[in-house]
Subunit: 249 residues, 2 copies
């Protein structure tokens, strides 16, 4: 049985609270939240703590707060020499106060409060400062997910940047596509099967092999037609830059 | 029973040949290909034509060739006053020779020869010059797909541009994400669930509502960290431009 404390009440914290309460080999011991009401729908009152001094040591303490608050929160913990991990994709181990043993427990997924998540398929990127601590963090990870990876801080940073390109920026391109459809009174949903196929393809082909469209074909006629069609300068600039980037790979 | 001729032997033509042969209400009459061997695995010899003069009139003739060849092929047809459509997303009705009645039958999906396609879910964008011709083209569309849309040339052009943003450019961003992972020896597959979730989300939220990440949060610290992490000028430029585009929406 692994005992766990969670610090925080945001999206990730709430999903972790839910999943650990349903996990046999994990005992969710205490959850710290400045505002009890944020999480009172998720667990019994006696497990909620609003004062750091009331926290008791646990095998693993998971700090799931905004990046900027990790350092301060780790200073406030009233115990030492415990394993304390944060859930951030972009922060290093040095954010954590050295009075405790350090690690990272980073679930690579977008969480929205309203949508239930199946943790089994969420990749967990784990790291510990001390080699000896890895096994217990790995046990915790495997208790909720089938996809547990040992990832260094440098690698995690690269994943975070790669996720911005492959997800945040991708979503923005969906938005630009949606705008073009709306301006021309075409339902955006016509593009859904193609969007799905594009996301599926890279599971069997590398993205480089999967590339299609006028840019990779060097179909200058169509490219010029598209640029003439676009009347928004921002879209024209993005179209030109991404076309060049495809052609120069 | 609708009789159909197909002109062409590329990806789209081959998929159309396969699906029409399995469709009860459609009689695939003749297929023109300059090279018989391109399609001899798909249909019996007597249906393959390598000389335009051997084509007989059909209810609908589908010209499925590269954009640049549509005009010439439509000139070569040995009949007139039949319904003749092309399958291009970016070409107008004016490409087609006016000796026949004109239309467009544009399946909005990426086709690869090796991968079987379920046509039921492929959006078909249909257009005819004469109002009276729409019903028969719609019948043909509905015989193979559940998603048939009446789309004007201007709208089809907008869809084509939107598809470049939402699919071709999206795939390129997957490629950049993949490169970042490879450079840091992280398996790209760690990002697959997030990529899938990003593609799924827009079916229930608008892309604007679904936007997450450092750009929309105006998280300047993380943005600067990411830019410092990237050592490739092209990736830096794309990161900066797309971040600005997200923030100015």
């Amino acid at each position: 049985m692994i005992t766990v404390n969670i610090i925080g009440s945001g999206n990730v914290a709430q999903h972790l609270i839910s999943v650990f309460q349903q996990t046999e080999d994990v005992m969710l011991q205490q959850v710290f939240s400045r505002h009890r009401e944020n999480i009172s729908h998720l667990l019994t009152d006696n497990k909620i703590v609003t004062d750091f001094q009331h926290l008791n040591p646990a095998d693993i303490t998971i700090i799931s707060v905004t990046d900027g608050a990790i350092a301060e929160v780790s200073n406030q913990l009233p115990y030492d020499n415990q394993l304390v991990v944060h859930t951030s994709g972009s922060m290093g181990l040095e954010e954590l106060n050295p009075k405790n043993r350090k690690g990272v427990f980073y679930p690579l997924q977008t969480f929205s409060k309203s949508k239930a998540i199946n943790f089994k398929n969420i990749p967990l990127c784990l790291e510990t400062e001390a080699v000896n601590d890895y096994a217990i963090l790995e046990n915790l990870g495997k208790s909720i997910s089938d996809k547990v990876y040992k990832i260094s801080s440098q690698q995690r940073q690269s994943l975070h940047v790669a996720a911005v390109f492959s997800c945040n920026f991708v979503n923005h391109l969906y938005q630009l596509g949606n705008e073009i459809c709306e301006e021309n009174k075409v339902p955006f949903e016509i593009l859904f099967p193609l969007i799905q196929e594009t996301a599926d393809k890279i599971k069997t082909l590398s993205p480089k092999e999967a590339q299609t469209g006028p840019a990779i074909r060097h179909d200058q006629k169509t490219i010029e037609k598209h640029l003439a069609f676009l009347d928004d300068e921002n879209k024209k600039t993005i179209y030109t830059l991404l076309t060049q980037s495809i052609q120069h790979k």
